[in-house]
């Protein structure tokens, strides 16, 4: 842990450009504030916005999320944010519900999502409710990490904080998996689109490392 901490502190003050423009997409999602605070702790200013021009012009885009899939998709469509998200070229990071919305379809109220990742989102169904409760709440490991800049300099099987009832299935685009009831996609990646099911903004030093790695992509 000490190693990670040293590296993070070093990165906080070195090569992340202070003037980098980061847009956090504003929609009817819960607690986005903690994502903004996490960016602040890394020494960069992020702006919460639903202005298409600002989102297009940003160096990096973060798509947080907490809430229900169909309501979130409806909101995005009404504001044409769905097409905008699909057209973006800069590094893009979906978080939690943000990951699920980037997938093809979610079982949560049978919702068609953005389709960036051709992956299906399903509800956890525990075979044994004593052992496996839903939602999946707490700290769990990222496993089978692929070689990718987003995962640079992380400890082996790092712990991240999860709160979710739906999960994205494993796919070729899975950068890291997590085991709960079965393996699921902890992190997905395609082209400029990255997404994390856990909450990096609440995942201690590992989470800060994931976010600072993203800012460096």
């Amino acid at each position: 842990m000490t190693d990670v901490r040293c590296r993070i502190i070093e990165h906080r003050t070195s090569d992340i450009r202070q003037y980098m423009k980061i847009a956090v997409i504003k929609y009817n999602s819960g607690n986005v504030q903690s994502v903004l605070y996490a960016m602040e702790r890394l020494g960069v200013q992020a702006e919460l916005t639903d202005d298409p021009e600002k989102i297009r012009a940003a160096d990096k885009v973060v798509f947080p999320g907490q809430g229900e899939a169909s309501t979130a998709m409806k909101y995005l469509k009404e504001r044409n944010l769905d097409t905008l998200i699909g057209d973006l070229k800069q590094p893009f990071l979906g978080v939690c519900l943000g990951l699920q919305l980037l997938c093809e379809h979610s079982e949560e109220n049978d919702t068609d999502c953005l389709g960036i990742f051709p992956v299906k989102v399903k509800k956890f169904v525990p075979e044994n409710s004593q052992e496996f409760k839903v939602p999946h709440v707490g700290w769990n490991e990222l496993e089978n990490l692929k070689d990718n800049p987003l995962l640079a300099d992380l400890p082996a099987n790092p712990f991240v904080y999860y709160v979710h009832s739906y999960y994205a299935e494993l796919s070729d685009l899975t950068l890291a998996s997590t085991h709960y009831i079965h393996d699921f996609s902890g992190i997905l990646h395609r082209d400029n689109y990255y997404a994390i099911q856990a909450h990096p903004e609440k995942s201690g030093l590992v989470g800060e490392k994931l976010l600072s790695n993203f800012l460096r992509i």
Partner: protein
């Protein structure tokens, strides 16, 4: 593997921690933000802030504190104490809290659990239950355990789960403050019958008590206050002990 969580609880009054804290490295033992940071750096998995302020300005003071905490720490935290409306929850979540905890207000108006869960999602609604055994039966108590109700603890736990609570924080008033161990029998009964996580509270005195609450009590998380505040047990040594005892724990 999903790990068991260790959760220090901070009692807050008018924006300051109360109930005594004994940390040599603290500049100001009453500053909740400073204490929260220490716990977070030491490896606490989550924090709970329980506000016991009874003034009209309470909501504003608490929201300001929540923002300061949210800016300072990078682990999840729950805020509880006197929360009774959807608007209260909104203010605290917008200020940066990850979850809120309700207790007496849920007993008084159970429908509020459904409303809060529908508005913000179950994942951020913790229902705290204070329980006391009366003549062999566990009954829910409110107002810090002082006021008895006719609700049976097991039945109320099932009801709050059905109404959309995301987690239950179960405090045994019989064990609270005794340092003689958690209420493992009742915890195991409730945890096994529910599909949502149970946080155990009340009775922590030794590291063995934590091991027991995770094995015999089947708890998903364990909460304690004074033993952490007075450094009777350090979080790093507790986590080492639990890991050595083959309890799944975040290192």
């Amino acid at each position: 593997m999903l790990t068991k969580r260790i959760i220090p609880c901070l009692d807050i009054k008018e924006g300051r921690t109360v109930k005594g804290v004994n940390f040599v490295e603290l500049r100001d033992a009453g500053d909740p933000v400073e204490l929260a940071k220490i716990y977070s750096d030491e490896g606490a998995d989550e924090l709970v802030f329980l506000d016991i302020t009874a003034t009209v300005d309470k909501r504003k003071t608490l929201a300001e504190l929540v923002t300061k905490v949210a800016k300072a720490i990078n682990i999840p935290f729950t805020v509880g104490g006197g929360i009774s409306t959807v608007e209260d929850v909104k203010v605290l979540l917008n200020a940066g809290a990850d979850k809120i905890s309700i207790n007496s207000s849920a007993v008084k108006n159970p429908q509020i659990i459904n409303e809060m869960a529908a508005e913000f999602g179950s994942q951020c609604i913790v229902v705290a239950i204070d329980t006391r055994n009366v003549d062999g039966i566990d009954f829910v108590h409110t107002h810090g355990g002082r006021r008895a109700t006719l609700l049976k603890t097991q039945e109320w736990a099932q009801e709050v789960c059905d109404r959309g609570a995301g987690e239950i924080l179960l405090t045994s008033m019989d064990h609270d403050g005794t340092k003689a161990g958690f209420s493992n029998g009742l915890l195991a009964e409730i945890s096994s019958s529910l599909s949502i996580p149970v946080i155990a509270s009340g009775g922590a005195g030794t590291m063995l008590h934590f091991k027991d609450v995770f094995t015999f009590g089947k708890a998903d998380a364990a909460l304690a206050a004074s033993i952490f505040h007075f450094k009777e047990i350090g979080i790093p040594e507790l986590k080492r002990y639990l890991a050595d005892s083959e309890i799944s724990i975040r290192k």
